[in-house]
């Protein structure tokens, strides 16, 4: 077993070596610009781009013409939300999203608010799932867009896409889903789920970074305003030279994901359950964050009471995971996603996200269980909060001085 162990597959995934092999010739010998219509270097690149477009479309049950390549899911989310809002401004200026969405969605919505749009940020239930009744009640005659993510990046919970899609179609509202965490890991069918726009990220499913896609429905046609201009690439929705190697990689990753999704999921789920049960068996005072059933196979998010997340990450430095603690990020607030579930700040500070993936092994899982149990026990010995809890003091009743 090789150390360190990578268990942060919701942050990014390594490129599958099979994908990389397919990509490499497109950097050097087959380097043409797909927009060069006058020579074979360009045609060859253009053919590769067409194939990639089809591969991505196939993975989500779309038509190749409905795939717009972008630099990643952040850009896709920006285009989808700003694009719909600005194009349909006359019809209505209200957008509904969730408080637990990715920053690319939330920041874009906030920006639109500053331009005069109305945004409803719906709360989620304590399991992280949207309340369908609340969603239906939030719709007004001004609502033009509902943007709800497919699977959450921190807690892995899967939203009821088909139900949301049906509601949106019935109320004639566009449905966008940030599916960065879900594509390649969950079966997605844009028609069955009545999804109008869907954001894809290459590096979340063993493809390269710097590339993604936006699915834009053609029937019934979804119209939007572009945010990137010049050259008229991608049906005018997204300009800029198409990065052939990255697109070839995205396509190859999509095809592999389609072929291996079932077997990957079965294996990854078994590993995740082995890890969850292994940790739960040996430690007390744990909280699982997010719904256990409606959840990505590879995601586990646990709060280890009385142990601060960043110090725990330091203690298990041979294992790459991430924490909902403020200290690991530029912001000073602990994870807003966990807070949205009603997890208190203290417990948010003690959370660790484990992201298992295609290349995780049983040996690694067993090593992680052993390492984390030892580290939590050590840090609890060092924790004044654990000591107080052992003495029967309820730390919630103490008046702490905030700083």
């Amino acid at each position: 077993m090789k150390l360190p162990i990578y268990m942060d597959n919701q942050a990014t995934t390594p490129v599958d070596p099979r994908v990389l092999d397919i990509m490499l010739p497109w950097f050097t010998e087959k380097f043409g610009n797909p927009a060069s219509s006058s020579h074979s270097f360009g045609w060859e690149a253009d053919t590769a781009v067409k194939k990639a477009r089809q591969q991505v479309a196939d993975l989500i049950g779309a038509d190749a013409k409905e795939i717009v390549f972008t630099s990643g899911a952040t850009e896709s989310n920006n285009i989808a939300i700003q694009g719909i809002a600005r194009f349909h401004q006359e019809r209505g200026n209200h957008i509904i999203t969730l408080v637990s969405e990715h920053k690319a969605v939330l920041d874009t919505c906030r920006h639109l608010e500053s331009e005069g749009f109305d945004v409803t940020y719906l709360p989620v239930q304590s399991n992280g799932l949207v309340d369908m009744q609340q969603l239906a009640d939030a719709i007004t005659d001004k609502t033009v867009l509902i943007s709800i993510m497919a699977a959450n990046n921190e807690i892995g919970v899967i939203q009821p896409l088909a139900e949301i899609g049906a509601l949106c179609r019935e109320r004639k509202i566009y449905f966008h889903t940030d599916a960065a965490q879900a594509v390649g890991k969950l079966p997605i069918d844009v028609n069955a789920m009545k999804i109008d726009l869907l954001s894809i990220s290459g590096h979340k499913f063993y493809g390269p970074k710097g590339v993604g896609a936006l699915y834009v429905r053609r029937r019934p046609r979804v119209r939007l305003k572009a945010i990137m201009f010049g050259g008229g690439h991608e049906r005018g929705i997204r300009s800029g030279t198409l990065p052939t190697p990255l697109l070839v990689g995205l396509g190859a990753a999509a095809e592999l994901a389609g072929q291996e999704m079932d077997s990957d999921n079965k294996r990854i789920f078994a590993l995740r359950e082995r890890m969850r049960l292994g940790i739960m068996e040996q430690l007390t005072h744990l909280e699982l964050n997010g719904d256990l059933e409606q959840r990505l196979a590879g995601n586990l998010n646990i709060s280890f009471s009385y142990v601060e997340g960043e110090s725990l990450m330091m203690a298990i430095k041979d294992v790459a995971v991430s924490s909902g603690s403020a200290c690991t990020s530029a912001s000073l607030e602990p994870s807003y996603v966990l807070r949205s579930l009603g997890v208190n700040e203290e417990m948010a500070h003690t959370s660790i996200r484990f992201g298992l993936g295609r290349f995780s092994t049983e040996e690694e899982v067993d090593f992680v269980i052993k390492t984390i149990v030892k580290a939590v026990n050590n840090l609890r010995e060092m924790s004044p909060l654990w000591e107080m809890a052992q003495e029967g003091i309820n730390i919630d009743e103490i008046e702490w001085e905030a700083h």
Binding site: Y306, E308, C327, H349, S383, P384, W400
Partner: protein, 125 residues
Amino acid sequence: MAYNDKVLDHYENPRNVGSFDKGDSNVGTGMVGAPACGDVMKLQIKVGDDGVINDAKFKTFGCGSAIASSSLVTEWIKGKSLDEALEIKNSEIAEELALPPVKIHCSVLAEDAIKQAISDYKKKQ
């Protein structure tokens, strides 16, 4: 962010972890920070008849820098008089551990913990 070697050393081999009986008259206890903020430091001093801190213990809930800051100050205050211990500034702690700007609050907490422990001890006298 990569950690400085001194932080790593204190984190991996923390000095003086533990607790004294806080009811003892020669023990002073300082507890600073808040769980919601992600840091709680408990620092205890044991003071001899000569007014010198002859032992110190800590327990900390917090990041590596918080643990290292508390571990470091338990070493520094041992053998110091109360007045000398009160002179320790957070900037010295931050400098010794080469804390980055986002971690300066850990050194502030450690300084506060010393002050609170000494004031608790003085109240008992």
